[in-house]
């Protein structure tokens, strides 16, 4: 497998995401690269297409839950 093999620390990025105000992204995917939100949308494939136009780096996709979402 290729992809992330450096210490661009994904856990740091995930922690960074959780300290951001993500209200406007509720219910959407966000794509994060190097602690920047580089794309967003309702569906993962659309977001990846958008990001691939901008960079060759591996995007980190995170689904931002809505307030009433409970996983069952």
């Amino acid at each position: 497998m290729s992809g992330r093999n450096t210490m661009r620390n994904i856990n740091d990025e995930y922690e960074w995401v959780h300290n951001q105000n993500l209200k406007k992204f509720k219910g959407k995917w966000i794509a994060v690269i190097n602690k920047k939100i580089v794309g967003s949308g309702l569906y993962a494939d659309d977001v990846v297409k958008e990001v691939k136009k901008k960079t060759k780096e591996t995007p980190f996709l995170i689904k931002v839950p809505t307030e009433d979402y409970l996983s069952l």
Binding site: M1, S2, N9, Y14, D45, L61, P65, E67, S71, L72
Partner: protein, 150 residues
């Protein structure tokens, strides 16, 4: 006595749902289908799911042909869903000294956006790791831990 090769520990992701704190065991992973570009996702560790499950749009983002006919139906607490299965490479613990890599079967729904969050089911993860959900510990020690069995 159970022996472990290594441990991967994670903080729970904290959400407020209907004014109640909810702790979710969510981990960052990398998924790659064949030689396509890998993508990093967050996945929910779902001890109630037999296998891992991703939505049609997540599968499409990995380059999986999602026009395939379903070959299975999964029965969940929210109803029945048609799926098909593909093998996908997964990396867990990227950036850690001990990284887990495996080709795993993943069920793919025919629905864009369902499941809401990609789910990491028991098989094969729970065959290879003891997973400790330490939700009852004080906040600073409250982590879930994936302990790799020898």
């Amino acid at each position: 006595m159970v022996k472990y090769q290594y441990h991967l520990s994670y903080d729970f992701t904290v959400f407020i749902v209907k004014k109640t704190q909810v702790l979710r065991p969510i981990i960052p992973v990398e998924l790659q289908f064949k030689e396509n570009d890998p993508i990093e996702f967050t996945m929910l560790i779902d001890s109630g799911a037999d296998f891992s499950l991703i939505s049609q749009d997540v599968a499409a983002s990995l380059g999986i042909n999602t026009k395939r006919d379903p070959d299975d139906t999964i029965q969940g607490v929210t109803g029945d869903t048609s799926t098909f299965t593909e093998k996908v490479n997964i990396r867990i613990g990227m950036g850690h000294k001990n990284e887990y890599r495996k080709e795993i079967p993943i069920q793919i729904t025919k629905i864009r956006g369902y499941p809401f969050i990609p789910a990491l089911g028991r098989d094969p993860l729970f065959r290879e790791f003891d997973i400790h959900f330490r939700m009852g510990l004080p906040t600073k020690e409250r982590k879930f831990v994936l302990s790799k069995l020898e």
